[in-house]
Symmetry: C2
Subunit: 175 residues, 2 copies
């Protein structure tokens, strides 16, 4: 990479499909150019296909922070909060390690929306971002403060969905 | 995969970032579950990182159809049309081969929007889709007919973009 290239904070939000997969796809695209990516996944809490597929990738590091899926605000426990805090610490360490070109905080938006972390805690980490690191934040319900902190914001907007046909999440497609 | 699982046609469109990368990420997620994906890229016409990265992947086949990037309708030539037709034929062959669980037609929406292929030609191919094949269509400016033919439609909507800060496409991020 040219040292002169400015790096950005991307944010993918919205109720549509493709937020996490766009971040994974970006890591693959970047790997094709020899760039290294760290992916920290919050709140996933189950085995997603990308973890199995990428865990031995030479240019991509992927870690799940938290082993319990949380899909409703009323289900939040202290364990979720502790796991999110530990996750943010690990992401922060990866950010400062100087090892990576791209860093993904997967589901960080919804982690903040659930109140597991504050937007300010995440922004404090973003402020420590080295100049040569591109950062991707994903998750629905992105808080205004994180949107303001991002340079590029894309809303994945659901126009039509087969959930309305009664289809549940499937291996390989939704996880 | 369970034979009883119904498969769908997804469509990613919109002016925002993440359409192609979401399709690539889905292929990676699926590979983690042992599923095979064919990706046919239309109108790319340059070396994208995903091609380099995935060309030797055991579960993902990726091919570029057409070697000339085309970004404006007025630049369309007969060569673009011929390449798009040949590409659709190859995608159709992949679809009918029975080898794949997922098939991606990358940039097919914009290929139709440019008039290189008609929506009906693409829909005729979709109609031949085996019951056990999930299909992903990507590209901005999706024609109404393709939107109607899809089960799941996501609009990647640009909310904020650094292009407005004068930043051009970069290796590993935009290509």
């Amino acid at each position: 990479m040219k040292a002169s290239e400015k790096k950005f904070v991307h944010l993918y939000t919205g109720n549509g499909k493709g937020k996490t997969t766009a971040a994974i796809g970006l890591a693959i695209r970047a790997a094709g150019h020899g760039m290294k990516t760290y992916i920290g996944q919050f709140l996933k809490g189950q085995l997603y296909g990308e973890l199995t597929e990428l865990k031995n990738h030479p240019l991509i590091t992927i870690e799940q922070h938290g082993d319990t899926k949380c899909i409703r605000k009323e289900d939040v426990t202290q364990a979720h909060i502790d796991q999110a805090r530990l996750g943010l610490k690990k992401v922060s360490d990866a950010m400062l390690s100087g090892q990576y070109d791209i860093l993904v905080m997967d589901e960080i938006n919804v982690t903040v929306w659930f109140g597991l972390l504050s937007a300010d805690e995440v922004i404090d980490v973003l402020k420590k971002r080295p100049d040569n690191l591109e950062v991707i934040l994903t998750g629905r319900n992105a808080p205004e403060k994180l949107i303001n902190a991002a340079d590029l914001v894309t809303e994945m907007k659901e126009i039509k969905h087969y959930y309305t046909q009664g289809v549940l999440a499937r291996d390989g497609i939704e996880r």
